[in-house]
């Protein structure tokens, strides 16, 4: 019997189909695509993979497969698409639980019934509507709002997952404060599907603010622009976005608060530099443009981060490389889009960020660039990462890589 038939016997015929060119990851077409309906079914797929020595790659929306290394082998794509239910929403507790295959966009719609409660999951990763909760977690993807609300590690309060050898386990819970047991969710976030299949996620929600006001500063000098960002960080304002875009020399700040609070904060920002306020449509359009700007071309995209006092250096490095950079200024993490595939240009910018003590990860680009960006950890960390992989995926069936 072939693999598709074997899996169909395990899961039911409508849950499995042969892989096609659209299912390829890193140029490899899987033999089969499985779409399990439950964590138990996920465990069946992984158990078979363990027995038969198959390589399995998890797919959520399929929007960020390129963020981690392509699989060396690929037999089964395990799609989480059928795991898409909202399991629980407790508006008064500001928490929700959803299956991992639920698209982030669908979750936001499901939890924001404006007539009864105004709340949201404050995650806005790049990549559009298709991204699933599981994929967002597995890639630790975060967007502009991380400035105020943090990244998945700050917003996930629990998870269910299936280990590579088929244990269906949970970590954390549904309450916002909880220290019982190891926080395995921290390991799954950013694991790129290398340790386990995330099947369910419990999340902390936040209230939607009453009012938002948006201002921009145009400042072509990197030192002065960085000084403005630093002043914003120290001022009594509560920005949800602080986006510095280079080489344009633009800083967008959106404050969100009560109506009175937002108005007062705009006045405070006026003390910090010659800002201009934007009306709402213009503000939304610019914010959306900035969020996707590093991706707008066709060249490689890097995620970069530095400590705050290195921000001027980062802005200069981007300008020198002819790159498009958008940085979430207070945390100094951002995305950098290169105009073309010129390896020398890429090497220069990677070198410059590293010289600033910064971090670099590949978001889009070829394998040569991935090799250049690869950051080999010290022996102790390497051993720990390998031991965790062995512990949670002892038969090595999950074809994902955390670096």
């Amino acid at each position: 019997m072939g693999l598709v038939e074997d899996l169909a016997a395990d899961l039911g015929p409508d849950r499995v189909r042969p892989g096609g060119p659209d299912d390829a990851i890193g140029g490899r077409v899987p033999q089969a695509v499985a779409e399990p309906l439950s964590p138990a079914a996920v465990a069946l797929v992984l158990a078979r993979a363990g027995r038969d020595g198959l390589a399995v790659r998890v797919r959520g929306g399929g929007t960020k497969q390129a963020w981690s290394a392509p699989p060396a082998r690929l037999d089964v794509v395990l799609s989480t698409r059928a795991l898409h239910r909202l399991v629980d929403h407790a508006p008064g507790d500001m928490t929700c639980v959803a299956e991992a295959g639920m698209p982030l966009a669908a979750l936001q719609v499901a939890i924001s019934d404006v007539t009864t409660h105004r709340q949201r999951l404050m995650l806005d990763p790049p990549g559009g509507a298709g991204a699933t909760l599981g994929g967002v977690l597995a890639t630790a993807a975060a967007g502009p709002r991380r400035v105020r609300y943090g990244t998945p590690r700050d917003l996930v309060i629990g998870a269910r997952y299936v280990t590579g050898d088929g244990l269906a386990a949970k970590t954390g819970g549904r309450v916002v404060k909880n220290v019982a047991g190891y926080d395995v969710a921290k390991l799954l976030i950013g694991s790129h599907g290398s340790l386990a299949v995330i099947t369910e996620v419990a999340l902390k929600l936040h209230p939607l603010p009453d009012a938002a006001r948006t201002v921009v500063l145009r400042e072509p000098d990197p030192d002065r622009a960085a000084a403005f960002c630093d002043a914003v960080r120290g001022a009594p304002v509560t920005p949800a976005l602080v986006e510095a875009a280079w080489p344009e020399g633009l800083v967008l700040v959106r404050v969100e608060s009560t109506a009175e609070g937002a108005a007062a904060q705009v006045e405070r920002l006026r003390d910090l530099g010659p800002i201009q306020e934007l009306d709402e449509p213009a503000a939304d359009a610019l914010a959306a443009d900035l969020a996707g700007r590093a991706w707008a071309g066709t060249g490689p995209v890097l995620a970069v981060g530095v400590v705050p006092d290195r921000l001027p250096g980062l802005l200069r490095a981007a300008a020198a490389a002819g790159a498009t950079l958008v940085v979430r200024a207070p945390v100094c993490a951002g995305e950098l889009g290169l105009p073309d595939d010129d390896p020398e240009r890429a090497a220069r910018v990677v070198g410059a960020v590293r010289a600033l003590g910064g971090s670099v990860q590949l978001r889009r680009g070829g394998e040569a660039l991935r090799a250049l960006v690869h950051d080999e950890p010290g022996p102790a960390v390497r051993r720990l990462e390998a031991a965790l992989k062995d512990g949670l995926d002892p038969h090595g069936v999950l074809a994902g890589a955390a670096r």
Binding site: G92, T95, R118, Q119, A140, R153, Y161, T163, L167, A169, K170, T171, G173, V175, V176, K177, N178, V179, A180, G181, Y182, D183, V184, K186, L187, G190, S191, H206, L208, P209, D210, D230, R233, P236, S257, T258, E260, G261, Q265, R268, A303, V304, V307, P308, D309, C332, A333, S359, D375, P377, G378, P379, V381, L384, E385, A387, L388, G391, L392, R403
Partner: protein, 489 residues
């Protein structure tokens, strides 16, 4: 035979430790060892075989390497203020005390971070940066004594973690001596470093993933404006409902704390205050002035709408401090109400507060023991204090059963057995209430990746046969299997 072996090993270890840290920093005198018998959970004690007090990362690493080579279990100890037995030693094991490592190594204001040794107290970080207008956000009530190493190990929280999060949201990097004595740098200076979030899983691992010998933590600018009120209610339920209503209104206070009549009485016994109500709700807002002012008015309105008998607004920093003194003294003051008490640390979804408080009152009646409630209401983290007389054996037994029944009630309502004190030895046998065999097996594999030989603070956090008997469905991986030398299948 086994006993002699243990003595020999400890003897060898003591010799090696003296060479590493210097003879005065190795304690083996029984009288000295007694200080290290327990942490804040004083009803569980064990005298350690040896105490070693290293001064540097290298010394910690060398001592741990020696333990590893000799197969001697070890446990890190900060201030010993833990409330779940996390720092309790084993008789045949070693305490590695970090009290000598209490230097603030670097204050980096432009990058908003401080680098400290593990024995630095939580409050010392805030004190070091306060003159510059900054503070370290996690504020456990024990902040004057507890250490940053202990805070990382327990993922400590505090009254203000409702808005600002826990230790894990503020720790950026750490130097860690692993179970075999290797030194690892976890986390990173810059954001978004590649690789697994090893620091994230180490935080809250209760000293079972290694010994933190240096930590980098973030600091925040002091909020521009703070407003604090205390509202008094005629029932506990009304106080609880008010909490839900504030959160549902889209307001995220810096802190929401609650005390019931008994806790208020306790606090009154040790402070000069005139509070008198079935429940007192403390709400603090901080942030930009105009935002705080408008939201504070809304909070006061919500309190009144829920029949608050009185709403008192702190008119000065001194009045604010008095409110917090009342809250923070309630714990220690419980000693005035009864000869002994047990603290529990269960968490519930905050909307269930009224029901759970009613449930606790019913349990209290059924067991015939008083329970004082003083807790972090905003995030549903209860601290019921079960009062009893330690001289009456039945009460000792009953109080333990009552405490466990409260924990079970929290889990029944979809909550957790612990919000900030940790599992330790105290709640290890309660873990199966929340987690099934597969959950525990996966936890054990994570632990095994950090500590394959089971020497780093064993018998904590997870149920072990030694503590709890066999747990159905929980397969502890034997070190032989872990080393790939055998397989269960």
């Amino acid at each position: 035979m086994a006993a002699t072996q243990t003595t020999d090993r400890l003897g060898t270890l003591a010799e090696r430790a003296r060479a590493i840290v210097g003879p005065v920093w190795v304690l083996s005198d029984p009288a000295q060892l007694r200080t290290y018998e327990c942490d804040g959970l004083t009803n569980q004690r064990e005298r350690p075989g040896l105490v070693v007090l290293p001064a540097t990362t290298d010394e910690v690493a060398a001592v741990v390497r020696a333990c590893h080579e000799l197969g001697v279990p070890f446990v890190a100890r900060g201030a010993g203020s833990g409330l779940s037995g996390g720092a309790m030693p084993r008789a045949e094991g070693v305490v590695i005390g970090l009290a000598r490592m209490r230097e603030i190594l670097a204050v980096d204001l432009p990058n908003r971070r401080v680098t400290v040794q593990p024995g630095v107290t939580n409050l010392a970080i805030t004190e070091a940066v306060a003159p510059h207008g900054f503070y370290y956000a996690p504020d456990p009530s024990s902040q004057q004594v507890c250490t940053i190493g202990g805070n990382l190990a327990e993922n400590a929280g505090g009254a203000h973690c409702l808005k600002y999060g826990f230790t894990v949201n503020h720790a950026l990097a750490a130097t860690v001596v692993l179970a075999d004595g290797a030194v690892a740098e976890l986390g990173s200076a810059a954001p978004d470093a590649p690789g697994l979030d090893l620091l994230g899983v180490l935080i809250g691992s209760e000293g079972t993933c290694g010994i933190v010998t240096e930590a980098v933590v973030g600091i925040l600018p002091r909020p521009q404006h703070v407003e604090t009120l205390v509202a008094f209610f005629d029932t506990v339920e009304e106080g609880g409902e008010t909490v839900s209503e504030i959160i549902s209104a889209g307001i995220l206070p810096a802190a929401v704390e609650m005390m019931d009549r008994l806790a208020i009485e306790a606090a009154r016994a040790v402070t000069h205050m005139d509070w008198d109500a079935e429940s007192a709700l403390i709400v603090e807002l901080d942030g930009p002035e105009s935002e705080v002012r408008s939201q504070f008015e809304a909070v006061a309105r919500i309190c009144s709408a829920h029949h608050a008998r009185e709403v008192r607004v702190a008119a000065s920093p001194a009045e604010r401090a008095a409110i917090w003194t009342a809250r923070k003294s309630a714990f220690a003051a419980a000693g005035r109400l009864a000869p002994a008490y047990r603290v529990q640390d269960g968490v519930i979804p905050r909307t269930r507060l009224p029901e759970v408080l009613r449930g606790i009152a019913e349990l209290s009646e059924r067991y015939g023991l008083r329970v004082a409630n003083v807790f972090h209401a905003g995030d549903g983290n209860l601290h019921p204090l079960v009062l009893y007389d330690s001289a009456v054996p039945e009460e000792v037994q009953q109080s333990e059963e009552l405490a466990m029944a409260i924990v079970a009630l929290c889990v029944e309502f979809g909550g957790s057995i612990t919000g900030e004190h940790g599992v330790g030895t105290e709640k290890a046998c309660s873990m199966p209430k929340m987690f099934d065999g597969d959950d525990l097996t996966a936890f054990d594999r994570v632990r095994g990746a950090f500590d394959p030989d089971g020497l780093c603070n064993p018998d904590k956090l997870l149920p072990t046969p030694r503590l709890c008997g066999e747990v159905p469905g929980f397969h502890r991986v034997h070190p032989v299997e872990r080393a790939g030398l055998g397989d269960r299948l």
